[in-house]
């Protein structure tokens, strides 16, 4: 589904990613762990198309060259980034935004757009599946949301857009244990054999709830070690320095 070969990226003449390789197949859950400044957020930004980076290398997503695509085209093809810090958008109703977003994706895929009633039905169904309270939907997008509500909103958006590859950028940051469990349960309920997840995190804690198939260690712009869930446990004990 996703194949990254020798990805180099920098910003303002500073090299961040220095030849990263990663392959993700449908249905797999990959976790990337690493210390501060190792390039984790840069990787998620580049995959979702954020501007401002100098990029070399090759990223294939299904049959297209991902780096050639605009931000929204990547979303249309099924890439979703759950933000570490979801932005507050004053004056924009969450429900209206979600509908605009879903219909933009549907339109790009040549599918029929949903009308207001069909959309509400879908939102109701997804909220129930994730066990989320619907009341955040009538509020302005992320404005005044608690850390937990923002992250839940990201997961709800993910479930509605139904992406092929979901990138979770430090989704666990700022969550208490209860919120972490709710968010993780949400993600787990969306797992199936066709979609994949790339989970970016500092800590092993999140991975207790969302069990990855592979764990990669990113350090100094490269993946230096790959293993299974055991590797995460090992890192938790020994820290990144030991590698």
């Amino acid at each position: 589904m996703l194949e990254i070969n020798n990805l180099e990226a920098g910003i303002d003449n500073k090299e961040i990613l220095k030849g990263l390789c990663l392959k993700i197949n449908p249905g797999e859950v990959h976790a990337i762990m690493g210390p501060n400044g190792s390039g984790k957020s840069t990787l998620s930004n580049i995959l979702s198309g954020k501007k401002g980076y100098e990029i070399k290398g090759d990223v294939k997503f299904e049959n297209s060259n991902l780096l050639d695509l605009e931000i929204e085209e990547r979303a249309h093809k099924g890439i979703f980034l759950a933000f570490q810090y979801p932005l507050e958008i004053p004056g924009v109703n969450t429900n209206n935004f979600l509908k605009t977003s879903l219909n933009a994706v549907k339109k790009a895929k040549g599918e029929k757009e949903l009308d207001a009633i069909e959309f509400l039905k879908l939102v109701k169904e997804k909220s129930a599946q994730l066990k989320f309270d619907q009341n955040i939907l009538s509020r302005q997008l992320n404005v005044g949301f608690s850390g937990g509500e923002k992250k839940k909103n990201e997961i709800l958006q993910m479930s509605i857009l139904n992406p092929k590859l979901s990138i979770l950028d430090e989704t666990d940051s700022g969550l208490d244990i209860d919120a972490l469990k709710i968010v993780s349960d949400g993600v787990n309920s969306l797992r199936n054999t066709n979609n994949s997840f790339l989970i970016i995190t500092h800590y092993q804690r999140l991975l207790n709830y969302i069990k990855p198939d592979f764990v990669h260690v990113l350090k100094d712009g490269k993946i230096i070690k790959t293993g299974n869930f055991e590797l995460a446990l090992e890192l938790e004990k020994q820290g990144y320095e030991s590698l």
Partner: protein, 406 residues
């Protein structure tokens, strides 16, 4: 432009009367000319040069609407009473049955007082043919909005329109009114003068929409006197005209009176709009609130000058003012001048002003959800102005504005 040998007499229609006074006002105007940036109040909007640039020759004179009919598309979105003003003159009124006997409309001769200080008021007094007078009678609650259609449909006769309007809400009455500017002609100068009195316990909602793209230059001056427990809600959507300066003088004359002035300046091309407010807190426990947001595109210029004055009698004043501007590219300009002048010691007054660009991270967030750049931009701009629109407390009119600007 202002010819010395201009013969005022030759312009005068016999029926208008007051030739002597009109002449006096006109000559006073000729002396000063249009205000330029040399004047403090006009330093961000140099009307003199704007008129020179946009109107080749301003033709001073009176308009006649005799034998003119106008095929106007009225608003269909909500039920309302109508007054139509064509080229500054009263054309027709149609008050709904439910609100008949609550509103009185008169078309009277101008009253000439001594003051000759304001150039544009002098111009207005020289050429406005009548004073359009509207009274809401004591104790009457007008149920449906009153829409005042200001139509500008000039021919070759003149490219100058002077409207003079007086609105009085007698005690314990209320009215919602929408001033809608509809312009068909090219490059004229519209000079409006509104005088509003809100008596004890009365409530006026006054909305001004300049929506449709047009080449007109516009100056509006509104004076509002508000008495005990009276409330004045104003909302200005300033967008369509080539140039506009909307000036509101609000006098909170007695205790517990309040004034709200909210507005949106939404511009493109090289259009230039200004909102200028002057709120005078003259009685105790008076309240004012102002929220002005500007969205500037292309090479446009937005200006907001807002002054809160509190005299030594006006204890317990609550004054608030906030201006936010969104500059969508580097060729736009925004000038803000907040001013507080306070002589009472027990008051709560605050003001703030910000200007900036669209937040790139917000754009990225929205685009990562599948919206293209234009959709993301539109959503952010709509969100930016949405909270001002929601200040409109007449829900029908709020809904109408949302529909027409989308």
């Amino acid at each position: 432009m202002l010819k010395e040998n201009l013969e005022f007499e030759s312009l005068t229609y016999e029926t208008l009367g007051n030739t002597k006074e009109r002449k006096e006002h006109f000559f006073k105007f000729v002396e000063s000319g249009f205000p330029s940036k040399k004047l403090e109040d006009w330093k961000f909007s140099d009307l003199k040069s704007i008129i020179n640039k946009n109107i080749k020759e301003l033709k001073f004179g009176f308009n006649t609407i005799e034998n003119k009919s106008y095929n106007l598309k009225f608003i269909k979105n909500f039920e309302h009473s109508k007054i139509v003003i064509l080229n500054g003159e009263f054309l027709s009124a149609d008050i709904l049955d439910i609100d008949k006997n609550k509103i009185e409309i008169k078309n009277e001769n101008l009253i000439f007082s001594e003051s000759l200080n304001e150039p544009l008021n002098n111009l207005n007094k020289a050429f406005a043919s009548k004073l359009i007078k509207l009274n809401v009678l004591e104790g009457k609650i007008v149920e449906k909005p009153l829409v005042i259609y200001h139509i500008c449909d000039l021919d070759s006769e003149t490219n100058l329109i002077n409207t003079r309007f007086e609105l009085t809400l007698h005690k314990n009455s209320s009215l919602s009114t929408l001033n809608l500017f509809e312009d068909k002609s090219v490059s004229g100068f519209n000079n409006h003068n509104f005088n509003i009195v809100i008596n004890k316990n009365s409530n006026l909602k006054n909305y001004i929409f300049d929506l449709n793209k047009n080449q007109n230059l516009r100056y509006s001056f509104t004076n509002i006197d508000i008495y005990e427990n009276g409330n004045s809600e104003n909302f200005i959507y300033s967008s369509g005209s080539k140039f506009s300066k909307y000036e509101i003088n609000s006098n909170l004359k007695e205790k517990y009176s309040s004034a709200f002035i909210n507005g949106i300046i939404n511009l493109d091309k090289n259009n230039h709009h200004e909102i200028k407010t002057n709120i005078n807190h003259l009685g105790e426990n008076t309240k004012s609130y102002q929220l002005i947001k500007s969205v500037l595109n292309d090479k446009s210029t937005g200006v907001y000058q807002g002054k809160i004055f509190v005299n030594d009698q006006a204890q317990k004043t609550d004054g608030y003012q906030l201006s936010k501007a969104l500059l969508l590219n580097e060729n736009t300009e925004f000038n803000g001048k907040p001013e507080l002048e306070i002589y009472a010691d027990d008051v709560k007054c605050s003001h703030g002003s910000t200007s900036g660009n669209l937040d790139e991270n917000s754009i990225f967030y929205l685009m990562s959800r599948g919206l293209n750049y234009d959709q993301a931009k539109k959503l952010l701009i709509d969100g930016f102005i949405n909270d001002v629109i929601e200040k409109i407390t007449n829900i029908e009119i709020q809904k109408y504005l949302k529909e027409v600007i989308n």
